[in-house]
């Protein structure tokens, strides 16, 4: 069966748009439930931590490079480096490690 690329793209974008837009448009009231509020408070930290590790370690062929980048990034962010400096530190560290491990 022959499929049309544009229909594929349409299906892909409609599905992801519906998922992202429905809660935002349908939930208007403030949720009062303490546990649900707490849950939502913790969501970003868990999600972002999960997306960072082990992905950062697997980003390079050399695990050590990824681990070094992770540790440097965590330390920098903990000490208060902002969004951009932390990102640059992670990037430079993995690049330098890869050069030496080659």
């Amino acid at each position: 069966m022959k499929h049309n690329v544009y229909i594929y793209i349409l299906v892909m974008c409609l599905t992801s748009f519906l998922l992202r837009a429905m809660p935002l448009t349908l939930i208007r009231k403030e949720i009062k439930n303490k546990y649900f509020r707490s849950f939502l408070y913790y969501v970003p930290y868990v999600t972002l931590a999960v997306m960072t590790f082990p992905a950062i370690m697997d980003a390079s062929e050399h695990r050590i490079a990824g681990i070094a980048s992770l540790i440097a990034g965590m330390a920098a962010a903990y000490l208060g480096a902002g969004l951009f400096p932390t990102a640059i530190i992670c990037s430079v560290i993995i690049f330098v490690f890869e050069l030496f491990l080659r």
Binding site: P23, P44, V46, T47, L48, F53, A59, F84
Partner: protein, 252 residues
Amino acid sequence: MKTESKIPEARKWFLKGLRDGIPIAAGYFAVSFALGITARNAGLTWYQATIASLLCNASAGEYAGFEVIASHGSYITMALITAIISARYMLMSVTLSQKLSPEVNTPQRLFVGFWVTDEIFGASSTVPGKLNPHYNYGLAICSLSFWALGTCLGVVLGNILPANVVTALGVLLYGMFLAIIMPEGRKNKKVGVIIIISMAVSFAFSRLPYISDLSEGTRIIIITLLIAGAAAFIFPVEEKPESADSGGEDEI
């Protein structure tokens, strides 16, 4: 008087969004370049891939989508895979619904929803108190234009950039994630512990038999529900977190 101060407020947030979007844009550019290579291998032209990136704004989702196109899967497969991989955005959307003031109207909410990505969600969840939708517009317009541009160039230029440069650029995104979560982890030790546990569980899930066969998106959803759910019961937040925190987060 309230309406008078609203316009500059919107403008201020929009400009802040554009500025904070720069590191996101750099990371997106690298990741989407790699994505463009996938699209090219799936047989998409540069304009088809660019349209897909402009409309979908999803890294893992688009990657999987291009794989479906490459393997001539059915439209239903496409919808299901997109839904599974992008389900975490639904969770983020629920969270953001609580950050917006009830006055924010439906078209504005649709735009915020259209542009929910991991990074934009992360950046907008650091805003103390209520979220101004214009901040999201600024973030999205700055970063997602580079997302589309990177996808386009990935198709056109293919494998010109050396692999180590692509790796280094891709890691920018992880650095940003760390910069978003670590300050709160320092301020609130419970969050710090939760970050470490989340990383450990994520590592285990990526290596264990059977579980590691699940798609990355599915693993993210499962771990988020488990850990954030458990944390909410073990350490319920007594005060509204944003009003309690609003003092110390101006450094960003």
